[in-house]
Each structure stands twice: as structure tokens, then as C-alpha cells.
């Protein structure tokens, strides 16, 4: 663990050094140096712009992304377990996954209006396919052998579902959450860029790039990236606590001999 932290710190120092070097060569106006960006970042916090934008963004993220999880996880599992339903509906989610959402954002405005609810609906549909697809594949991946074990102990279909398919699904749910959180953050920014003109982090980015304040643009973008990494690490921590067998299997690879 300590080794991981060390390597990541070194990697961050190297990247920041390169960035700083680049800003020296290109000039602060084109590529602001880390110092400039950090300065703009503290300004944004001080004048409350970032805080307001974040509160608005996180609200739509929590509602839209949360709804995608609450609907997507059971839906993915249902499609995976029920063969006919899976065959009938799985490809819709593959289609939804590659839908160019930024191109269809105006349709959302047309259908649902120009307010924060529309952003939530947008984030929901943007995040849903990823979660459904991962959970669907997990439910289908349950090894036949493990189901046979349960059957050999006279497990009823309900027992097989609760004691074999669901536990096997747990790591897939966490993968879905990790990927889903990242996608929801993307969806949030796209929604703020395209759907509501005067709110949120996306609005900040539009406003500052119009004003050619590249330092502030980078401060907001880096902050969003930081939020994404933080959320993904948080999900990983929860997974390690809830499904220790899985993270150990995947990190140690081969089972130990002896």
C-alpha cells in the first residue's frame, strides 16, 4: 500500500513538472502553469462560484445517477437471469450505450423542458446502459458448475438465485458502480453544457472559456477529474470491505499452493 502511494506521488510530481515545463514553453496564456491554475482554483472557491456550481451539479448527479443505479442493477440482473427477457431487450442497452447523447440533448429539452429535472433525466439515461450491461453480463456469467452444486443440495430456484447468482454478481455490481459514477459525472457536465444555460460546473467551463480564462477552465476540469477519481476509489474501498474474497483473488492472481 505504501509502495502504491509512493509510486503515485512520484508519477504526479513528474506529470506536474512536465506541465509546468510546457507552460514555460507555450506561455501562460495558452497553457497556464500549475501555479496559475491553483491560484484560479482558490479564487473560485473564495468567491463561491465553484461551491454553487458544485451543489447544483452534485444534486443532479445524485438524483440522475442514483436512479440509474437503483433501476439499472436489478434490471441488468433480471435480464441476465431471465433468458427470454434478456434476448428481447439486451440489445437496446448496447444501442443506448453508443447513442451520441450530446447530439440528442436538444431532444431532451424539447421533451422535458429547460430545467434541472431535464438534466437529471439526461444523466439517468446516459448512465443507465453501462450499469445494465455490466450487471447483465455478471448474472449470465455465473458458472454452471456452481449452480449444479446448489442443485445437488436440492436448492430451490429462489435459493439458487439468492445464494449463488447474487453473491457471484456482487463484484460485477461494484464494477458497474465504478464505471457508472464516472459516466454519470460525464453526463452531468454534458447536461450542464447543453441543457441549462446558467448553472453548474459545465456552465462555469463555458463561461470561462468564452472569457478566454484558460486557468479557470483547467481548474474546473481538473476538479471534476479529481471528483471522479475520488468517487471511484471510494467505491473500491467499499468493495474491498464487502467482497474481500474478490479483491484478494484478483490481486493475488493464482491461489496459493501448499
Amino acid at each position: 500500500m505504501a509502495a502504491t502511494v509512493k509510486v503515485r506521488l512520484i508519477s504526479l510530481v513528474v506529470v506536474f513538472a512536465l506541465w509546468w515545463l510546457g507552460s514555460l514553453l507555450a506561455g501562460d496564456l495558452i497553457l497556464p502553469s500549475p501555479v496559475t491554475v491553483v491560484g484560479r482554483f482558490t479564487d473560485l472557491i473564495a468567491d463561491g462560484a465553484l461551491g454553487r456550481a458544485l451543489r447544483i451539479g452534485l444534486t443532479s448527479l445524485a438524483v440522475g445517477g442514483g436512479a440509474a443505479i437503483v433501476v439499472g442493477v436489478p434490471l441488468g440482473i433480471l435480464l441476465g437471469v431471465h433468458r427470454t427477457l434478456g434476448r428481447a431487450f439486451d440489445f437496446y442497452f448496447s444501442a443506448l450505450y453508443v447513442t451520441p447523447f450530446s447530439a440528442v440533448a436538444p431532444l431532451f429539452v424539447l421533451w422535458f423542458g429547460f430545467d434541472s429535472g431535464t438534466r437529471m433525466i439526461f444523466i439517468f439515461f446516459f448512465t443507465l446502459p453501462q450499469i445494465v450491461i455490466v450487471c447483465y453480463q455478471g448474472a449470465r456469467a455465473t458458472p454452471e458448475g456452481l449452480i449444479d452444486v446448489a442443485r445437488s443440495y436440492q436448492a430451490r430456484p429462489r435459493d439458487i438465485f439468492v445464494k449463488t447468482i447474487l453473491p457471484y454478481e456482487v463484484p460485477f455490481i461494484f464494477t458497474a458502480l465504478r464505471l457508472g459514477v464516472g459516466r454519470a459525472v460525464q453526463g452531468m457536465v454534458v447536461a450542464e453544457l447543453l441543457i441549462s444555460a446558467a448553472q453548474g460546473l459545465g456552465f462555469l467551463i463555458t463561461a470561462y472559456s468564452a472569457a478566454l480564462d484558460i486557468g479557470a477552465v483547467l481548474a474546473v476540469v481538473l476538479f471534476i477529474m479529481f471528483l471522479g477519481v475520488l468517487a471511484s476509489m471510494l467505491v473500491q474501498r467499499i468493495e474491498d470491505a464487502v467482497a474481500p474474497w474478490h479483491s484478494e483473488v484478483t490481486t493475488t492472481g493464482e491461489p496459493s499452493g501448499g
Binding site: 458448475g145 449444479d148 443440495y153 435459493d159 467482497a243 484478494e248 496459493s256
Partner: protein, 286 residues
């Protein structure tokens, strides 16, 4: 009702046919496996009949692909037979029976359950309360020599230890009939030999257990069994049944006795006759 009243487990004229797609190797067809695919029928088992009596240990040996594992899975109704009947304690079987306990070749342990929870699995499904479950699981964990490993997860154990868990899990439900599908097949030779005598010790300490044991290891079959069933090559049926005269408890010395060597030679020759001739193994592609 046909069937000997003494018999614990009876197979009557079991048939099993598989349908598979004819394998194709052209480039295009690998990507379009369903396009103009031809189903071919493979007769796995033809007219297999067998009687296993209470307290008897019967091994089934046979060439690869003769359907011995399928036969065992049919006994526990994990796969349906296409013809014939399976009788357990005189009644016909359509679903996995509580009298049977199955031990799987690849151990079949749940990776999210530790040793104790894996052993408790069958008891849990039968609605045994947590206290009682823990107590009974503990005694079987002790029996298979895994005391102190209760909270280990399967991936932290060696193959031999994992199958000890598998055996404890099956014994915990106290089955009348043990069905074992090459349980030591994936272990190294030394561990396999140790596990064979461990199994003899474990079963010797239990009330008389009836067992059907599928293996391709002739020595293993002789060490463990009262009778050895030799199956023919596919479509599999019963070729001959060899009685094993050694008493119990058995010790490793049995391996060196002249009778043992003679029986092993006999089984070897019997199986040799069932090997598919090499020239015939390559099917001309119509």
C-alpha cells in the same frame, strides 16, 4: 416395481444422447456458428444398468468420453436421462435427492464463503439453525483435518485442502449415498494418494456409507472400492464388473500385494480393448 429391495441405487437401462453442432473450422463459419449449422447426435450412454447395495463402495472406470461422469450426474438427476430409470431406495428419481451427496471434480467451492460457511452450505439450505449448523460443520471440518482453517477462503487453500472442504461439505448433510466425480483428478500424484487413504479413514469413521466413485485412475479405483465397474468406449455401457477382495480397514500395503498387481493388470487390459484405434479417431469430414 422392479428392483432389488436390498439395492440402494439402481440404474435401469439408462440412455443419454447429446445434440451438438457439427464443428466447423472455416473462417467464416467461426463467426457465424448458427449459419446452416448441422446438429449431430452423439450417443453418450447406451443401456447402462447397475445395482449398488447399501454400504458398498463402487468405482466406475472407463476410457475418456465414455460417459462415466454423465452417468454419475444422471444418478443425482443433475442431468436428465433420455431413457431408463434411476431408483434410489426403491423410488424413481427425477430431481436431486436428499439421500445423495455429490462431490465435484473441480471442488465447486463458493469463493465468497470461507471454509466454515462452505461446509455449512447444505445445512443452511435444509434450514438447520445457525448454532447447530456451526457445531455440525465444525465436527466435519475436524474430521477432514482442517481445524484452524475455518475462516480461510478457498483461494487461500491448496487443491488438496479445497477438496477436503468439498468432502466435509458433502458429509455434513449426512448423505446415505456419496457420488464422487473424479474428486482427486486435479491433484498431483502424491496429494492424490494421500487423499485416497484420507477418504478411506474418513468413510471408515462414518456410519456405513454407500459410494459411487468415478475415476480414470485404476489404482485409485482398486484402493477404494469393493467393486469396480468397467465401462466400454462411447456409447458407454457396462463392460464388466470386477470384485475387489481386500478387507477393511485398508492400509497402503495393499498396493504391493500380488492380487492388487494382478487386478490392476486385468483392468488395464480390459481398458486397452476400449481405447479408440488411432486411425479411427480421425473422422473424415463429410
Amino acid at each position: 416395481m422392479v428392483g432389488n429391495e436390498q439395492a440402494k441405487l439402481v440404474l435401469e437401462g439408462i440412455h443419454k444422447t447429446y445434440e451438438t453442432k457439427r464443428p466447423r473450422n472455416t473462417f467464416l463459419r467461426r463467426f457465424l456458428p448458427d449459419w446452416k449449422s448441422e446438429m449431430i447426435k452423439v450417443v453418450a450412454i447406451e443401456e447402462l444398468s447397475l445395482e449398488v447395495h447399501a454400504g458398498e463402495f463402487v468405482s466406475i472406470v472407463g476410457p475418456s468420453g465414455c460417459g462415466k461422469t454423465t452417468a454419475l450426474r444422471i444418478m443425482d438427476a443433475l442431468v436428465p436421462a433420455d431413457g431408463g430409470r434411476v431408483l434410489i431406495n426403491g423410488t424413481e428419481t427425477a430431481e436431486p435427492r436428499s439421500e445423495c451427496g455429490f462431490v465435484f471434480q473441480d471442488f465447486g467451492l463458493y469463493p465468497w464463503r470461507n471454509v466454515a460457511a462452505n461446509v455449512e452450505f447444505g445445512l443452511e439450505l435444509r434450514g438447520v439453525g445457525p448454532e447447530e449448523r456451526r457445531r455440525r460443520a465444525q465436527s466435519f471440518i475436524k474430521l477432514v483435518g482442517l481445524e484452524g482453517f475455518e475462516s480461510h477462503y478457498p483461494h487461500q487453500l491448496s487443491g488438496g485442502m479445497q477438496q477436503r472442504v468439498g468432502i466435509a461439505r458433502t458429509l455434513a448433510i449426512e448423505p446415505e449415498i456419496l457420488l464422487m466425480d473424479e474428486p482427486f483428478g486435479s491433484l498431483d500424484a502424491l496429494t492424490r494418494r494421500i487423499m485416497q487413504f484420507e477418504l478411506l479413514r474418513i468413510l471408515g469413521s462414518q456410519r456405513p456409507t454407500t459410494a459411487v466413485f468415478v475415476t480414470h485412475d485404476l489404482e485409485e479405483a482398486l484402493v477404494l472400492s469393493d467393486r469396480v465397474v468397467v465401462m466400454t468406449r462411447r456409447p458407454g455401457c457396462c463392460k464388466e464388473i470386477v470384485d475387489v477382495p481386500f478387507g477393511r480397514p485398508r492400509t497402503p500395503e495393499v498396493l504391493d500385494s500380488p492380487e492388487f498387481l494382478e487386478l490392476r493388470r486385468h483392468l488395464w487390459e480390459s481398458l486397452q480393448e476400449e481405447q479408440v484405434p488411432v486411425a479411427g479417431a480421425v473422422q473424415p469430414d463429410g
